[in-house]
Symmetry: none
Subunit: 189 residues, 2 copies
Amino acid sequence: MEEGLSGFCIKGSHVRGNNGNNNGGSGTKCGRWNPTTEQVKVLTELFRSGLRTPSTDQIQKISTQLSFYGKIESKNVFYWFQNHKARERQKRRKVSIDENDFISRDNIFNNNNSNKISSSKRFFEVKEYQSDQRVIETLQLFPLNSFDENEQEKLRFHANECRETSSFPYTINNPEMDHPPLDLRLSSL
Amino acid sequence: MEEGLSGFCIKGSHVRGNNGNNNGGSGTKCGRWNPTTEQVKVLTELFRSGLRTPSTDQIQKISTQLSFYGKIESKNVFYWFQNHKARERQKRRKVSIDENDFISRDNIFNNNNSNKISSSKRFFEVKEYQSDQRVIETLQLFPLNSFDENEQEKLRFHANECRETSSFPYTINNPEMDHPPLDLRLSSL
DNA sequence: CACATATGAATGAAGG
DNA sequence: CCTTCATTCATATGTG
C-alpha cells in the first residue's frame, strides 16, 4: 500500500483559495501549494513509474500538465519529488532494534491506550519498495527524449546511513525488570 | 500525501476543496498514539533538559524506554519533539511580533540559473513580495443553507482564517473538467 | 451533542 | 541528498 494505492488521506479541507492567479504578490502567509487529489495522483503515478529526480524540463512539463487541475508551480513539483523520495527512503530506514514490538504486556499505566494499531511499525517503517536499480531499469525502458537525462539515480546503496554518533555502550533495559532504568540524562541517550 | 509514516488509515472527511476531486469521505477510524502521563512526563523532562531534536539513535532509545509505559513507536517520539518544539516557538513568536514585520524572506529562487550542473537545480521563480497587500477577506459568508454537515463544519472552521478567495480558474466541480490529455509515460516528458 | 482546544500526524518549503 | 521549520489536517478530549 504505498501512496499509489488508496491508502492515503485526503486532507485539505479549507477552501484553499489557492490564488489561481497570484497577482504577482503572494499572500505572505496564505500561499502554500495545496495539491489537488488529481495532481497528487499524477505525481504519484510518475513516481511509481520510476521517476525520482525529474530534470528541469521534466518538471516544467509536469507542472504544465498539472496546472490543468489547479494552480501549481514548477517548484512545487520539484519539492514534491524531493520530499516524496526522501520520505520514502526515510520510512524505509530500518532501525535494527526491534524489541519495541513487544509492547508492555504489563500495561500498568494504560490510561487509555488505544491499542488498535498492530504496532509492527517502527520509525519510518518499511514498505515494499522497489530498489533504485529497478528504477533505472524502468527509466531505460522509457527513454526520455527532449533532454539529456544524466542524473539518473546513481546506484547508491546506502546501506545504513544512520549517524551512529553514539559509541556509547548503551544497555537496553531488561524486559524482566520491574522498572525501566530511566536515565533522563541526555548523555545516556 | 504519501504513505504516511504510519501505515495509517484513511479518513477522508474533507475534500480538497476544488475541482472535482472529492472522496466519499468515509470516516475510517484509526487509532493514534496516545501517550501516557508517564511518557509525557519523561518526554517533557527530556525537552526541558535541552533536547530538542533527537537523533534517530536517541529517538530509538527513548522510544524503547518509554515502551515500558505503554505502546509507543519511534515516530511518535519524533513527532512529539517536532510538535513540542514547534509549538513552543509558535507561542513565543506570537508574543514577539513587533512592528518590524518585514522579515520578509525574499525570494531565493532566481532564474539566472546557469543551468549547468544538475538539471534539477532550483530554477523556478518564486512569488515575490509585492507590497503589503493584505488579503482581502472576501470570503463570502456562507448562507446558512444546509450544506452537507461535513462541508459546513469545514467551512466554518476555516472561515476565520486567512484564505484568499481569488478567482480560481477552475470552478468547483466544473463538469467540464474532464481529464486532460495526460501522458504519464516518462518518455512524453 | 455542539463547540473549543490540545496535540498527534503529515507534508510543503527551505536550508545546508 | 539530508535535516529542520512552518503550517495544516485530523482526532482525542474537555466543557457547557
